[in-house]
């Protein structure tokens, strides 16, 4: 995690996305118009969040068997970093919705369930703060996290599909991949996702390293 090459790769990809995402060709679609370019910025936020929450649940499971404080710290800090991306995803989604669906928040199933899945992880952090004893905190919050993760996946990817949602890919709406199968959008979209995931992971490692130092100073 101290290597530099992937941090540079992430930075280059994100900068590439800003340039290519605004300048390259996109399909001309009614209602969406130029806002289709938001696909390169709004969707990677959610992918980064999911990757960070996956890291968290991985370390939560690991911490149950290792009882290691380091694994527990990794689980918290990846949730802390993931929530930022979730909130950015919600805000950018609301702005996009204002101009394409008419309201910032139209209580669309996708919006509601996405908000609930972010709240699930706020509950995780509140649960942690409520328990003082370290071993107990690690154990209970790891178990909570193992339940929260599949619920988040169901809320984001299963339930909105069963309801009438305006969001692409849900409620019978086609996803963006069926609008535009040409490789030009993919050439921006995939690097955008990888770039933001790397930046998200980087933020998580910085948070974890700060916590390690704090932890060490507390024990001294």
């Amino acid at each position: 995690m101290h290597k530099t090459w992937w941090k540079i790769l992430g930075s280059v990809l994100v900068i590439y996305t800003a340039i290519a995402g605004l300048l390259l060709h996109v399909p001309r679609l009614p209602i969406l118009n130029e806002t289709i370019r938001n696909l390169y910025f709004h969707v990677p936020m959610w992918f980064s969040m999911i990757v960070l929450f996956s890291i968290s649940v991985f370390y939560s499971i690991k911490s149950l068997s290792t009882k290691s404080e380091i694994d527990d710290m990794k689980a918290v800090e990846s949730v802390n970093a993931g929530i930022i991306f979730g909130l950015l995803g919600l805000v950018t989604g609301a702005i996009w919705a204002k101009y394409c669906w008419g309201e910032f928040w139209s209580f669309d199933p996708k919006q509601n369930f996405a908000a609930i899945s972010v709240l699930l992880y706020f509950a995780y952090l509140i649960l942690r703060n409520a328990i003082d004893e370290e071993q107990k905190r690690a154990k209970i919050s790891a178990i909570y996290n193992i339940f929260a993760f599949p619920m988040m996946v169901v809320l984001l990817f299963v339930l909105p599909r069963l309801k009438d949602s305006l969001h692409p890919g849900n409620g019978g709406n086609p996803g963006f991949n069926s609008y535009d199968l040409d490789s030009r959008m993919r050439m921006v979209f995939y690097p955008a996702c990888l770039g933001w995931i790397l930046i998200g992971y980087w933020v998580y490692t910085i948070r974890f390293r700060i916590r390690t130092i704090e932890n060490k100073q507390q024990h001294n």
């Binding site: 941090k7 994100v14 340039i19 605004l22 001309r28 118009n33 130029e34 910085i206 700060i210 130092i213």
Partner: protein, 59 residues
């Protein structure tokens, strides 16, 4: 490019593109991103220094 722009009558920001003002937006966004990322690198470097002082090994 211009021919392509008129193909189906859906309104896009064609004049913003044809008069080149889109580059102003792109340059601003790139400057902000480069600035923030450089800042992130400097935080990373400072953290590395503090880790060394606290004898935390690289993992």
């Amino acid at each position: 490019m211009q021919l392509f722009a008129q193909d189906n009558g859906v309104e896009m920001a064609d004049s913003l593109r044809s008069n080149g003002k889109i580059y102003v937006v792109v340059i601003c966004i790139v400057i902000i991103l480069v600035g923030l990322l450089a800042y992130l690198f400097s935080i990373d470097r400072r953290l590395k220094k503090i880790e060394k002082e606290n004898h935390i090994s690289d993992k």
